[in-house]
Assembly symmetry: C2
Homo-oligomer: 308 residues x 2
């Protein structure tokens, strides 16, 4: 089954203590789409400027990612410039230029309105809600959000939450949204706001999943080096939604396996700048780290069992 | 098979934002022994003063914990007074009085010298080494340490590491001991210093296990409230070593299951001050949370499988 992702396609400039990238392909929809494409067909709905380069368009078209919904408008592509601290959990935004993204009014094509899986990357909850309204009978609607919308668009966000099967949110944002410092209380409180599943992203500490069936805790894949954490959350969401779309149903088992695949994809993307590692990644590597992950977390140290 | 634990028995005064405890039973050996006793016979080797109260002695004797090695000396029992921050990962020591613990010279009884499982709680590495030298042919020797010894007794600690099957150490101490900021690098570096298994304790984020067989990652049990984190690490070690002693062999499967039982015991002890929760704890509760833990971390959401 196919997936529609609505969000940003951007050019990122990233600085870290050990190097950087300049005007590299970024944006939530880019990371999501390339990750999800390992599992299922993906349509990208986003906007770029006249400066968007053919080689970046080919990243999508080479993978048969549908970009009929990648609108081109007069002006420049969304640009973000950030610098990571030595502790990579912290970063400062040096410059943010929304450019053509400012007037983004995502309109789905007729076939996209009939999609089964929809991911609303981090855009305003008003726009996210407007997109949900265009989709006829989705199987799974998932969304991401951020502190800015929690602080400045809470009524719209609250309205959106009632429409969601899955909300992905990081730990600090979960505390902000719920008003609860304790993460277990926070996750359960957000569950009551509407989403059927809440996925709290904890960076290097992994993901806590809250659903009516209970909790699921997964560590992150232990990495010896993180080069660039940008896009890890969207790559996680891409791997997860991709796996769900491939299986077509949302059972607890499928959901948990999807969370593990999402974690695996995210663990790869941070190994290089921009989407570089994702673009080299083979299915064999995904499969290998997935098996490694089962081994890493298997408290009975039993042999690997096929998830299918 | 039986366990010998060598370490402190103390009186703790603890302050938190939501209450406290005054002159409550504490000390690494106390937490360890009561936790380990859920699984196997335990002997405590420690020293207390003349002020050590009969009701605290009965905590051990009521559980058939062997305290022939609990020496009584003239003077006062080791006392620690600490205050936890709102963020319970941080605490300040307000007062520390070693008292009779200062002259602690642990000498094992003849039958203790033949023990199979030895846990060296956080005392000076010189003393830890001296205790190891008394044991004839142990199956498993495990030890804990802290930043003070890493900074001030590194040669003795290095000598000890070569004698260890298991080292338990928290994340910051693992960084300090190895000189590596990245925890995966730190764990692997410490493994090369001698211990067959390194267990890096990450508080609310669980445990990372490093061994020749690879890595094992377990989250902590997600709690809605933590009342008093004191003794969590020693309770973890007690549950782990207790499980290992019950099974009598140190395979990767037994080790991983032991780490989960240790995590379960530790998740209970922080629910109340001092050893209070541990003293009320039933085997049924341990078993229930163990099953809950398997469910929490099972990426295939399969039914619970007996660890035996």
């Amino acid at each position: 089954m196919s997936i529609v992702v609505v969000g940003s396609v951007a050019y990122d400039t990233v600085e870290t203590d050990h190097g950087g990238a300049k005007d590299a392909l970024g944006g939530a929809a880019s990371y999501f789409a390339v990750a999800a494409r390992f599992f299922a067909p993906v349509s990208v709905v986003a906007v770029v400027g006249r400066d968007f380069r053919p080689e970046h368009e080919r990243i999508f078209t080479d993978r048969n990612i549908d970009i009929r919904g990648l609108e081109r408008r007069d002006g420049e592509t969304f640009r973000w410039h950030g610098r990571y601290h030595e502790d990579m959990n912290r970063r400062d935004t040096i410059k943010l230029a929304l450019n053509v993204f400012e007037g983004f009014q995502p309109k789905l094509l007729p076939d996209q309105e009939r999609c089964d899986f929809l991911f609303l990357a981090n855009i305003s909850p008003e726009l996210q809600y407007w997109v949900v309204s265009q989709v006829r009978s989705p199987k799974v609607v998932a969304a991401d959000t951020m502190d800015f919308w929690i602080n400045n668009a809470r009524p719209a966000l609250t309205k959106l939450l009632g429409k969601l099967d899955i909300l992905t949110i990081n730990d600090e944002e979960a505390r902000l949204l719920s008003g609860e410092q304790n993460l277990v209380k926070a996750g359960r409180a957000i569950l009551k706001m509407g989403p059927k599943t809440v996925l709290v992203k904890r960076g290097e500490y992994g993901v806590l999943q809250f659903s009516r069936e209970g909790m699921f805790a997964v560590p992150a894949w232990p990495l010896e080096e993180v080069i660039d954490p940008t896009g890890a959350g969207d790559t996680f969401a891409g791997g997860l939604m991709g796996f769900l779309a491939r299986h077509g149903r949302l059972t607890e088992t499928v959901l948990r396996t999807g969370v593990v695949y999402g974690t695996v994809l995210a663990s790869y993307v941070v190994e290089k700048f921009s989407l570089d590692r994702l673009l080299q990644l083979t299915w064999e590597e995904v499969d290998q780290r997935y098996r490694g992950f089962i081994e890493l977390t298997d408290s009975h140290h039993s042999r690997w069992i096929s998830p299918s």
